[in-house]
Symmetry: D2
Subunit: 344 residues, 4 copies
Amino acid sequence: MKVSIIGSTGYTGMELVRLLSKHPKVELKILTSRSFAGEDISDIYPNLRGKVDTKCEKLDLNKLAASSDFVYTALPHGVSMEVVPELVDRGLKVIDLSGDYRYNNLKTYEDWYKPHQSPSLLEKAVYGLPELNRSKIKASGLVANPGCYPTASILALAPLVANNLINKDNIIIDAKSGTSGAGRKLSLGNHFCEVNNNFKAYKVANHRHTSEIEEKLTLVGGEDITLSFTPHLLPINRGILATIYANLEENLDTAKILEYYEDYYKKEAFIRVMEEGILPEIKNVAGSNYCDIGLKVDERTGRIIVISAIDNLIKGSAGQAIHNLNIMAGWDESLGLEDLSLYL
Amino acid sequence: MKVSIIGSTGYTGMELVRLLSKHPKVELKILTSRSFAGEDISDIYPNLRGKVDTKCEKLDLNKLAASSDFVYTALPHGVSMEVVPELVDRGLKVIDLSGDYRYNNLKTYEDWYKPHQSPSLLEKAVYGLPELNRSKIKASGLVANPGCYPTASILALAPLVANNLINKDNIIIDAKSGTSGAGRKLSLGNHFCEVNNNFKAYKVANHRHTSEIEEKLTLVGGEDITLSFTPHLLPINRGILATIYANLEENLDTAKILEYYEDYYKKEAFIRVMEEGILPEIKNVAGSNYCDIGLKVDERTGRIIVISAIDNLIKGSAGQAIHNLNIMAGWDESLGLEDLSLYL
Amino acid sequence: MKVSIIGSTGYTGMELVRLLSKHPKVELKILTSRSFAGEDISDIYPNLRGKVDTKCEKLDLNKLAASSDFVYTALPHGVSMEVVPELVDRGLKVIDLSGDYRYNNLKTYEDWYKPHQSPSLLEKAVYGLPELNRSKIKASGLVANPGCYPTASILALAPLVANNLINKDNIIIDAKSGTSGAGRKLSLGNHFCEVNNNFKAYKVANHRHTSEIEEKLTLVGGEDITLSFTPHLLPINRGILATIYANLEENLDTAKILEYYEDYYKKEAFIRVMEEGILPEIKNVAGSNYCDIGLKVDERTGRIIVISAIDNLIKGSAGQAIHNLNIMAGWDESLGLEDLSLYL
Amino acid sequence: MKVSIIGSTGYTGMELVRLLSKHPKVELKILTSRSFAGEDISDIYPNLRGKVDTKCEKLDLNKLAASSDFVYTALPHGVSMEVVPELVDRGLKVIDLSGDYRYNNLKTYEDWYKPHQSPSLLEKAVYGLPELNRSKIKASGLVANPGCYPTASILALAPLVANNLINKDNIIIDAKSGTSGAGRKLSLGNHFCEVNNNFKAYKVANHRHTSEIEEKLTLVGGEDITLSFTPHLLPINRGILATIYANLEENLDTAKILEYYEDYYKKEAFIRVMEEGILPEIKNVAGSNYCDIGLKVDERTGRIIVISAIDNLIKGSAGQAIHNLNIMAGWDESLGLEDLSLYL
């Protein structure tokens, strides 16, 4: 399949290029970049040298449409919706990695982001979390790839919410992400010396991903969920670990709740539910498309603590976007996603 | 004052040596070490070279008593209580940095640690959190220096608990610590390659500091508190950041609650309450004796998020132990503790 | 091909397992471990979970021989030579990752290591640096996989030495390695807090790899080479960067010398010679089997500075060991080694 | 003494503020900043909160002159020389932390930097390396504070050069610096994810500090020195370690050469010469004003390897600038510089 990437020189774009370069059914065609048009992608990311030396181009929609079957848009929020309708109109299948098409509810998007420019497409787009929406993804021509924090959070909570095991008023997600989540755009907050040796929370009580998590979990559980979500910045490159707290509705032990998880994810290739006593760590998933999930019931407080870990650039972005491509194309879902974490 | 340190070659012991070496009223006398007796402390920690080149000795209680007015015990839990009674018997003033004398309730200690060998001393010991117990510390001959996580957690919660602003059944402390908190003892969990690039929770729902936090906050608030405490390991050397969640009892905004904090800590030299919109970060406190506290009310959920940051080896250990010495000796509380964080 | 690994639970062993698990022609058979016999490899390295869950075993030579065609020995120096002769006697093909069979000259080995227990095998073993010894490797039954520092150093210097471009008395190799090079064995020197934020030289003027580099470069150039080699410890997990200095024999510019390198390595899949103005960085090779090489002539001093970068666990160890397997088996040399660096 | 800082919000400026805030004889007056005029320095660097909350101002030369006895200029190269003459004209004593006044030879400056705007002042300025130039510094009104790499390099080599122990044609300095050396200015090269886990050389064979090192060592030795200097970027915040190679003129052993060093630096408070067998590490000096120096003779090659370590922001910049102030003011040289490295 001929695949092009719009916005190929951000970290997500680079990760798509890297992963797609070893996908056996994908032929990488056009890589667009506003900042680096005319330069080889392997001069911008020298890890690609010798494997992918494609020259980046400015976006030319007609040329792109003529040479591609499938397009990834790896653009900032608000920019994607300027481009995606044009792609859909030209009959291209699209996976958008921004937040622009993730919401069912237009008002929620506009409350947390900005006025939407193609609300009608919002209705057609499918939220690309394969574990929840596989059949809709398969049938769709426009998939909105989930956010990184929502991926880790929703996958960790869905079995509890779907089975009505927790009180829906007391969910707290304390999430920690590596710095690649902030992208390659320069800012003081991502300057090496400011991040190294440091740790901080940011956007407390107002991060946009809160609304994405709430909307999707509300759909899973069938009743409104409002929760607390706090992101933190880790002095590492890759990985998210979410520590999630909820009050149990009834007195179940760790083993019993793990059964619900095992059952919920029993067909999933990229979810690894840890047995009792084992909890996820970022180093076990960074570099892979896995989401590791572990949990423990705290009998003293009647609370469950669920921990999930992903690579924010893979399962939280480019890897999930390839998983969605595999589903849309009817291929083996693991194609191009076989890498294990390097551990070290 | 003549001060000796029992257990001077762990990270806490080294930190005491480093800080006391510039304390204007302290003369460092004996440094004991089981592992390094006969070696100069500056061969073990070459940062001290030229300033403190004292030879470490095996513990000789009589010699120690003869040459010291004041003793720090920086020993593992369970080992301290074998030594401290001997020191107290010899009339020495003692600050113990282990968990052995921190509890009012013997049963709590024994439930979370092990059988106690000097329970009568437990009653005499004072919990050395200056902001809560200043006058008792001043009058005491045996001070139990608080744990690092409890310091960050109790200071962050005390104003809320003391003023009955929060529901006491829904307190969640999600804490993250640098690796020096685990000390210098070798373990796979602290091997460089296993910690670097990684992040994980540990001892979920059963870390001993849970009980220390609960006991002290219960004393502050006058009614039983049971809470969730989850420690995590950060790939940095120093610093703890605690993100704390509680449900507000009434509808107060961030500014109003900050007033309670400002008032509660208005005389404290080492507490910095951040104004609205600013939150603590580890890099602002690492290397100093400050505890920075910031908070935000999340009106959507009726929840307050309080964030505190300390240097686990200073305000969470050796610095607080010097603060306690200053109080016990009747000196200016800031002596030897003027250092600011290096920021970088 | 049925492949077993003796010593599978060190970092090198794990890396072999991880890489071989995606090698299309390899069936992983027995994984031995003295420390973890009876445990699943994926409990020791949870990144492998779901892909390689083999139970580790104690070494049983007969069982191993019965079920394997090919064996990797990833054992400490001095231990390998106790096992390798037994494997060779049983007709197994072996790649040894220790230093025990790397030397042509027995005396050099014994001067820098210890008395050798199977000197006759030393003569049969082939030094497994594919770029220099491809045909011998292909014909051999016992390949000694090169050390990590020698791989980076020899590949960087071979074109200069082979073409007599430099003075052989003034070669200086200043090398810097990530901490995984020291393995998983606990030591204070690899304790997280001791390595993090730190940088140091170690084993100055007496690291064993000096002799390995000298012997192999002497063979390349045909005359004795004695050089300075200084290893340093980087606070990162993976990667070696070597900065190499030599005095040019004649007045050649950067472009001209790069031509020699391009020519020398023109058929090599895993050597990437950087064009003028570009120099290697660890982040471009970590996670891959590439050796990146760049250089610059300093006309002010008549000196050339060559810089090479590898992943010490891949091109410097397990990856090169798979490259050697591919050569010995007559397969495409890149099988199982297609991974690019993750860059981040 | 009333001290002001021009350019107080870069990393060097902040470090001056932090260190001067505990200097017993200094009253900090005006802090200027182009970017942050009107903001409190403690909002820009919250580590200073509660100790230094001065509001930053735009530079007003007359106001500055009226309220200050002494001025630090912590400005970029090329900008300093626009300001320093005005300060000198107004009778202020000045320590300039840029490269603008470091050179004796105007042509060298202009070859490596740019045309000079106040060459006459160049002649009056004294190079502020206290260990070499103490008496001139004491008598001077304009001191050019040395570069960070030159400080580490010159101090490591001066005893060898002064005593004619080495061949002056084969000196190689392989230096590695933490990222704070690049300042707070945003660039892709200092973006967290690009530096973390990475290591690289930069400005190979053309870094400006080469010329500074050469000029000063030439003065020490009395004959022209041309050398190789290669800087590298370490993924840490603070610290420089320089590994230096030279060919010995005669056959001296490590112990003998250490005697030369001990003698050369016997009166120096901030030089710690390591005994045989011990080598400097960054973690022993970061946070302090020490320069640690160790060395080893490699008898196989007739070469000496000298290793020096400093904190680039302290001994390599702000600390040395305070040392110079202490000398110029006739105070105890260690005032304000007593801090030891934190080790962790």
